[in-house]
Amino acid sequence: MNTAMSIGRPTDRPSAQPGRFQPQQPVETPLVQLLRPDGTLTSDPDFAPTLSAGQVAEMLRDMTLIRRFDTEGTALQRKGQLSLWAPLLGQEAIQVGVHAALGQHDHVFPSHREHGLAMLMGLPVERLLGIFTGQETGDWDADEVRFHHLNMVIGGHTLHGVGYAMAQQRDRQADAAADDGVSLIIHGDGAISEGDVNEAYIFAAAYQAPAVFLCVNNQWAISEPVERQSIVPLYQRAWGFGIPSVRVDGNDVLAVHAAMQWALDRARNGEGPSFIEAFTYRVGAHTTSDDPTKYRSKEETADWQIKDPLSRTETWLRSEGAWDDAQQAHLDQEAEAFGAQVRSAVNNVTTPRFEEIFDRVYAEPTPDLIAQRAQVLREVAAL
């Protein structure tokens, strides 16, 4: 081959000054925390709590109900009433803190573990459970609930959220009276490696879309620790895309709320996308099909349980005199009642008639689908 025509210079020139240059490493910002694991307040140079004790008490109530919902989900799966459940245990503060910061026109593009947020947004529990019973795939009006449909291909929904935000922006450009909603896009620490998620950052930045990315870093993507995805803290990923970012203690409902307010405000004010990494822990299994003992130690999980979001909130409220045993007892009752409602709700999920699937593929069924539906109905009739 070397006899054919080419320029062909040898490549054989080793370095004269190896490794001298150390490129400037961007400075790490510390974790935003307002409420310590022991339930005492701390302060942050940039974020201050803006909630009254009464509001926090309401959030404790929400976290408790969400936890109860999750416990029931796991139990229903054990009893065979759900085919799968993805526990959110330990991640309650994120979902409640986020929800408390959302405006009334904001839209959520969730990942697969935001069941609590779904409930808070008003999604009927039956509709969510229907996905996990295998009866439904998303029987709700996302325009109304503002909690969009669950997508099982990790990361794919992040682009939908960015497109939706582009549309919100466009609506306001066309009509000043359009609503002030922005889009919240939630993804995990594993999802951050998908091309789609990185493209979502690119499009959001390029169009300065009113979008907020919430990366729920629960330290695990099934069996893979976050270190398999990134060798630097995840909030730093946003730097390379020109998106301001911050890491908050995801088990601190005050910090999550404050950071989310900041990010949603930026979006609403036309300042473009932001990125929040909520640092938390997946206390439970990935799903009820998973066996975490294969890949992580009990000690690790126990360590994190000390950082529990609920107990620190309760401790603080009690120290403020804003929570007492009577309230707790009332809340426990409420949770008990809620649990019972969940258990009965699962029975309200109905399986669609099989032939309905033919009407859901297109606005109008195609000739093939009409024929296939007719065939199915004939077979049913023949039984």
Binding site: D139, G156, L159, V162, A167, D196, A363
Partner: protein
Amino acid sequence: MSQLNSAAPNQTTTTLTLAKALNAGMRAALAADPKVLLYGEDIGSLGGVFRVTEHLQKEFGEERVLDSPLAESGLIGTAIGMAQRGYRPVVELQFDGFVFPGFDQITQQLAKLRFRSQGRVELPVVVRFPYGGGIGSIENHSESVEAYFAHTPGLTVVTPSNPNDGYWMIQQAIATPDPVIFLEPKRRYHEKGVVQLDAPAHGLHEAAVVRPGTDLTLICWGPMVRTCLDAAAAAEKEGRDLEVVDVRSLQPLDFATIARSVEHTSRAIVVHEAQRNYGPGAELAARLQEELFYVMESPVLRVSGYDTPYPPSKLESDWLPNLDRVLAAVDQSMAY
């Protein structure tokens, strides 16, 4: 600027190339509905590498005709999001070979969101791109990808073969409440034809008999319609009267029109550029033998690209179905 705009007001036909007819169709759609957006790489000031969107950004503004970052998955994924809020994005992908980075968004998201939401989410997104070979391009610029999409429930797949269909089908596609994969036969972009300005001749999902005949039906679409019409003209000289059906819509397939033709001719050949194995022609053959078992006088034959990747362009004329190969298949079919 547009040849259509400059037409006399009561003009009912004009002559355009396919590329200009598509341009005129998109102009009409942009003018008719403020929710229609064009979205793609290099579609703005450049007007697309084939100039199919030429002048449209200037006329309708950067808010209606958007250049996107160089990322096909992002392009389709964000178009889905815009459609979820009521917009009607018309996405241009630059070439057939570049749909694949967006394949998940097309087949798992765009195609499935209506089903996932149990019928509630409507995604009127058109994904249009030039396809097929014959223009002397480098790798990944000549692919015929229709089977991948036609096999994916939730998508519709259409392809115009001439300027009139280009003008109307793009408008019909944009008006469709479902995702449309809109395949533009790039080697026909510069072929001219008469465009009827008053009304479309066909619905978007109708097949059309573009040449009547009695001896055998050539079934084809997009770039192969011209090839088959030429073959039919050549066959006529040998005394053979071939019918040519332009399928136009691969999904849904207007099998009734195709079957009507074959019932009458009893013989059929499917002609497409795509590779044969598990290719689009297989579906036509499978249906015809099933539905018209006693009608067929000979097996349904397929004339197609070979089962190799698309070859270097200097070899493409031997790879693509051409008049000779179609006529050889006609001989073979008639010999049964």
